[in-house]
């Protein structure tokens, strides 16, 4: 079957890509000026545990040395690191040696997924009709308004919107919706808006262009000549054909949103994977940092795979050949 082969091929190339990224990251960390995978970094990472409980400390040191194979040849270290990551065997973090990284992921990842996926879906739901509107009323005031707004949304990154929202709902209208934390539905409102604005801009702009392009095609004229009324024409021949093109923009948009989620989580103090990751980077907790990158990247790749798959299913001309 074509589809199965397509998926398998894509999965293999995904694994290769991510392995290369992991290996390169590991090597860079290894050979960087402050060489993260060394006993000294390890020691400084664990702070004064060395003096509080020398025995436990030694135990952790051994654990990390074994895990990252610090005394083995470099290729061995890389291979085992990549293999462990691919099998989701992440071990513990420097900062929090008692806690397996997996446990931390289990708490934070769902939040990031909810935020990023939710805002992309919402953006599509809002952006598509706006794009259609702008395209059908091309060059009218609605169009210029929507186009300008979508450009603003596209240009200004999520963290600027986030900061503005904090100002608005922290200073101007305090108490209307919560400006930090996570747990209730209300908590999700501001971060989702911050993430959505840009995505709505992208979706609107792209849909507009795509629909204008479809409506210019000869087959639209053919359908008109058949007597197909305006709205069925727009829907069946215009929008449907531009949706196929639209799907391709979802992948990059999602990738961008995942990055935006990292920012927004930091600003709204949401305990998601983004916050976890930036904490790890700031504190030189390299195992946790790279693992977070790995997981977030995997998420992006997974969505891209789904996008390509649905594209292939939607457009009969695209044969499933990766």
């Amino acid at each position: 079957m074509g589809i199965v082969r397509f998926i398998v091929k894509r999965l293999i190339s995904m694994i290769i890509t991510i392995s290369v990224v992991l290996a390169v990251s590991f090597l860079m960390m290894h050979y960087s000026p402050n060489s993260f995978f060394s006993s000294t970094t390890l020691a400084s990472g664990m702070g004064n545990l060395q003096f509080q409980d020398p025995k436990l400390y030694q135990q952790y040191i051994t654990m990390f040395e074994n895990r990252y194979g610090m005394n083995k040849p470099i290729y061995d270290q890389v291979l085992s690191y990549v293999w462990n990551s691919l099998t989701f065997n992440f071990g513990n973090s420097f900062e929090n040696p008692t806690m397996p990284i997996m446990t931390q992921l289990k708490e934070s990842l769902p939040i990031s997924i909810e935020l990023s996926l939710g805002s992309v879906i919402l953006a599509v739901i809002i952006g598509l009709p706006l794009g259609v509107l702008a395209a059908l009323y091309r060059n009218s005031w609605i169009d210029s308004l929507l186009t300008t707004f979508s450009m603003i949304g596209q240009a200004i990154p999520a963290f600027v919107f986030a900061v503005i929202l904090v100002l608005l709902f922290g200073v101007v209208w305090p108490g209307v919706v919560p400006i930090n934390g996570w747990g209730t539905f209300a908590d999700a409102i501001l971060p989702t808006i911050a993430l959505c604005v840009g995505n709505i801009g992208v979706v609107t702009r792209y849909m507009r262009g795509s629909l204008i392009e479809s409506m210019r095609q000869d087959y639209i004229r053919t359908a008109k000549a058949k007597g197909v009324p305006y709205w069925p024409l727009v829907w069946k021949h215009g929008i449907r054909n531009s949706l196929t093109a639209m799907v391709t923009v979802i992948g990059p948009t999602f990738a961008f949103t995942v990055v935006g989620t990292v920012w927004v989580e930091n600003i709204f103090s949401i305990p998601g994977l983004g916050t976890l990751m930036s904490g790890a980077f700031v504190n030189d907790d390299i195992p946790l940092a790279i693992t977070s990158v790995f997981i977030l990247s995997l998420m992006v790749m997974g969505v891209n795979l789904l996008v390509d798959l649905s594209y292939a299913l939607m457009d009969p001309r695209v044969k499933l050949e990766a």
């Binding site: 210019r216 095609q217 000869d218 087959y219 004229r221 053919t222 359908a223 008109k224 000549a225 058949k226 007597g227 197909v228 009324p229 305006y230 069925p232 069946k236 021949h237 449907r240 054909n241 196929t244 939607m314 457009d315 009969p316 001309r317």
Partner: protein, 331 residues
């Protein structure tokens, strides 16, 4: 005398291109009788396609009909209809075939559905009936294995087969008038022959009127009953086929006919028409062919010649100030 099906009077269409206005159709009049096949012939930019697109409300871009009438079936003026009323006529009473079968079919829709769409839109048949009829149509236009082909997409067809699909689509609701806009231009000669033969058979079986737009004199003269020659957005000459072939009177028609190169012309000296067609940024206030015409005089520069009947006996119309001189020169 058969009934008149379509009468177009003084049709004018202009386009806005950037800062400029382009006058594409500058007062076209003609009529088409039931069962008749009329060929509109002209070079690119003559306004022949725009004429029919204007009539059907299919103008693209910034095109606008500025005046004229197009009376269909002696009852409605196509140019005055509301969108909804025009949609009822398009596809049901008037079927259209376009030039490029590659781009004129929706690439993501099964061809069967594209053929059925018109019938369902006009409630011409129930879904089930429409399906059966589609299979019959596919068979009729010469597509083998209609059942299997129904579910195919346009990209799975050759150019000739796609044009057959276009034809099936155009005749699905048994229209009285079939408009074919350069239907064979994009096709190879042997395929062109197939498509023309098919169209001729369909036209005879159904007693359809056909309006064929083409730049190819060979196609027009072998397929049509009457010929209309356009230049610069105006009708230069209109005549029955026989008159057109044997006694064309407009200097443009004569020049154009003598510039066709046919097999057997090997040792003939060709007569090129000097100059080239121009783009009208203002409505023509002289004969459009003035610059290229060997008979041109001051009169041609001052007055636009009206389309007038050559003599009462004949269905032969001409827009030229110099019929006498032309007659003398042809002998």
């Amino acid at each position: 005398m058969t009934q008149e099906l379509l009468r177009v009077t003084d049709l004018k269409t202009e386009f806005q291109r950037g800062d400029e206005k382009v006058y594409t159709v500058n007062g076209v009049s003609f009529s088409l009788r039931e069962g008749e096949t009329l060929g509109i012939v002209g070079e690119s930019g003559s306004g022949k396609s725009v004429t029919v697109h204007s009539m059907l409300g299919l103008l693209q871009g910034a095109g606008k009909v500025s005046s004229g009438q197009a009376i269909f079936q002696n009852r409605v003026d196509l140019l005055q209809l509301r969108r909804k009323q025009l949609e009822d006529i398009r596809g049901r009473d008037i079927g259209v075939i376009f030039q490029d079968p590659m781009t004129s079919l929706n690439p993501t829709m099964r061809i069967g559905n594209q053929i059925m769409e018109g019938m369902l839109t006009h409630q011409y048949a129930s879904r089930k009936k429409a399906f059966e009829r589609t299979l019959d149509l596919l068979h009729e236009v010469g597509i083998p294995e209609p059942k299997a082909r129904f579910r195919n997409f346009p990209f799975e067809f050759s150019g000739g087969m796609r044009q057959r699909v276009m034809i099936a689509m155009a005749i699905a609701c048994e229209p009285q008038l079939l408009i074919a806009d350069e239907p064979t231009t994009a096709l190879d000669v042997t395929v062109q022959m197939q498509i023309l033969a098919l169209m001729q058979k369909l036209k005879q079986d159904r007693k359809m009127s056909v309006l064929m737009i083409t730049h190819d004199f060979g196609v027009a003269t072998n397929f049509c009953d009457r010929i209309l020659v356009m230049y610069g957005g105006k009708v230069m000459e209109a005549a029955s086929l026989d008159t057109f072939i044997r006694r064309p009177l407009h200097p443009y028609t004569i020049a154009l006919k003598s510039s066709i190169i046919e097999v057997g012309d090997r040792h003939k000296k060709l007569q090129a028409i000097p100059g080239m067609a121009k783009v009208w940024n203002a409505p023509p206030h002289h004969c459009p062919f003035y610059e290229r015409c060997t008979f041109a005089t001051q009169q041609c520069l001052k007055e636009v010649p009206e389309l007038t009947q050559v003599d009462d006996q004949e269905d032969h119309w001409l827009a030229c100030h110099h019929v006498e001189e032309v007659l003398k020169s042809v002998g």
